[in-house]
């Protein structure tokens, strides 16, 4: 047994230091035995929480807990003003239920974006945009601009995430979805970036048999843009210049 494999139990219990944990996670990628043992541990212990005898929570706990949760929140909720107050967009693309931008705004740890990128290595493909290809202003190297969770439009099980990244002065939109319906014939899922009510093509994909799909798209539309939303529609083929199908997933940006 390699030294690393001995850390499986402590990893499972979450008692490794951050550094150890990262090292062990790297080890997991190359050690099938550990991966299987970890999975087995998770399965074998999955029921154990229900062994706990029901305890009555103390009076007023909900108020206390939620109060401290919302108090913990200092920055995010404070900027509720919509810098583009006029943009109460009626996207003609939609029934896109764009909630107020501020409510949708969500910044996540860069690690998720990194993970997104990692999971894409191997099948990243970039599309040349049909606009005359002037690139956007160079920006700092590889940083996460914004990441959002995509919301399904209807009572669908699909889920997804989108991240805008800036890399070498280029802007990339990375989209990843789960549990979307199969496509038929030439159908594709088309990603759109919306500015006001104007949709811009932002890559397309067809999901695999497990309903997973992903695309990385280099956004290079001329001029300055302030994207309001990202949406995914099901299109008859990959040539739609404006959305023809209904929105499957979307989120404000």
């Amino acid at each position: 047994m390699k030294a690393n494999c001995e850390q499986l139990l402590d990893y499972f219990n979450g008692t490794l230091s951050n550094e150890e944990r990262e090292r062990f996670e790297a080890h997991l990628l190359s050690c099938e035995e550990c991966r299987e043992e970890l999975k087995e541990l998770e399965e074998l212990t999955g029921d154990l929480p229900y062994l706990s005898m029901p305890e009555e929570p103390p009076a007023g706990m909900k108020e206390r807990v939620l109060a401290s949760v919302f108090e913990s929140d200092t920055d995010e909720t404070s900027h509720t003003t919509n810098e583009k107050g006029s943009v109460e967009q009626k996207n003609n693309v939609t029934n896109l239920q764009t909630e107020r931008k501020s409510r949708q705004r969500k910044w996540i740890a860069p690690t998720l974006a990194a993970a997104l990128f990692l999971s894409l290595t191997g099948n990243v493909y970039t599309f040349v945009s049909e606009g005359d290809g002037e690139t956007t202003q160079p920006e700092e190297i590889s940083s996460l601009i914004k990441a959002v969770q995509l919301q399904p439009s209807e009572a669908e099980a699909s889920a997804g995430s989108a991240a805008l990244m800036s890399e070498d002065g280029k802007m990339n939109l990375v989209v990843q979805v789960n549990d979307v319906a199969e496509t038929k014939g030439d159908q594709v899922y088309q990603v759109w970036l919306l500015e006001g009510d104007k949709p811009y093509r932002a890559g397309y994909f067809t999901p695999n048999q497990d309903g997973k799909g992903e695309v990385a798209y280099e956004v290079e539309y001329e001029g300055e843009h302030d994207w309001d939303a990202v949406a995914i529609t099901l299109e008859p083929d990959h040539t739609s210049e404006t959305p023809k199908g209904k929105i499957v997933l979307s989120s404000g940006l």
Partner: protein, 190 residues
């Protein structure tokens, strides 16, 4: 309108929807509190665990995605880690006495509001009661107290290399007697 499922609520929580967090809280308060209490054995500490768990959810410090399996399983794991962490910060020696109630299989603890939990707990306690004392103890120390591999090896006077095998064996025994009771272990994967 139908009720939102966990993943949908979680999505709304990420978009800073306070009501969604409150709904998730209501849905899981009792289970998470009872589970935390089972680990830290103290009401005040258990409340602290819940507070930390919900702060992590709200601030997005813990990220759930569907590849991580069922939302409830993920949430329970996060809760267990938080509770174990708090227990360790308490600095005092964790006590790892067996919880005798684990092996009770009477109806005395009624859970009006959580029928499924009650049934599952009932079957589990029956299964636990069939384990040898040593096996119950190792599950207790490992799973509910989050003791380190090294510590368990010292406690049981086992070579480091055999600890994992012992734990697996105990858990497998438990699973076997559960499946003899029929179906429960599969249901848990719903």
């Amino acid at each position: 309108m139908r009720e939102l499922n966990d993943a949908e609520l979680y999505g709304k929580v990420q978009a800073k929807d306070k009501e969604a967090l409150s709904s998730l809280y209501d849905r899981y308060e009792k289970l998470l509190y009872s589970f935390s209490y089972r680990i830290v054995k103290d009401g005040g500490l258990a409340e602290e665990v819940l507070q930390e768990v919900f702060i992590k959810l709200w601030k997005g410090k813990a990220q759930y995605s569907e590849e991580k399996g069922k939302f409830s399983s993920w949430l329970l794991t996060m809760t267990r880690h938080t509770a174990i962490d708090l227990l360790r910060k308490q600095a005092k020696e964790p006590d790892y006495e067996l919880d005798e109630r684990d092996a009770l299989h009477s109806d005395e603890a009624s859970v009006e509001d959580q029928v499924e939990w009650k049934e599952r707990g009932q079957v589990l306690r029956t299964a636990v009661s069939k384990l040898k004392g040593e096996q119950r103890k190792i599950i207790e120390m490992f799973y509910f107290k989050g003791m380190t591999h090294k510590r368990i090896s010292e406690e049981f006077d086992l070579p480091l290399g055999t600890v994992k095998g012992r734990i697996r064996l105990a858990l497998k025994h438990l699973k076997t007697s559960l499946s003899e009771k029929g179906g429960v272990s599969d249901e848990s994967k719903l």
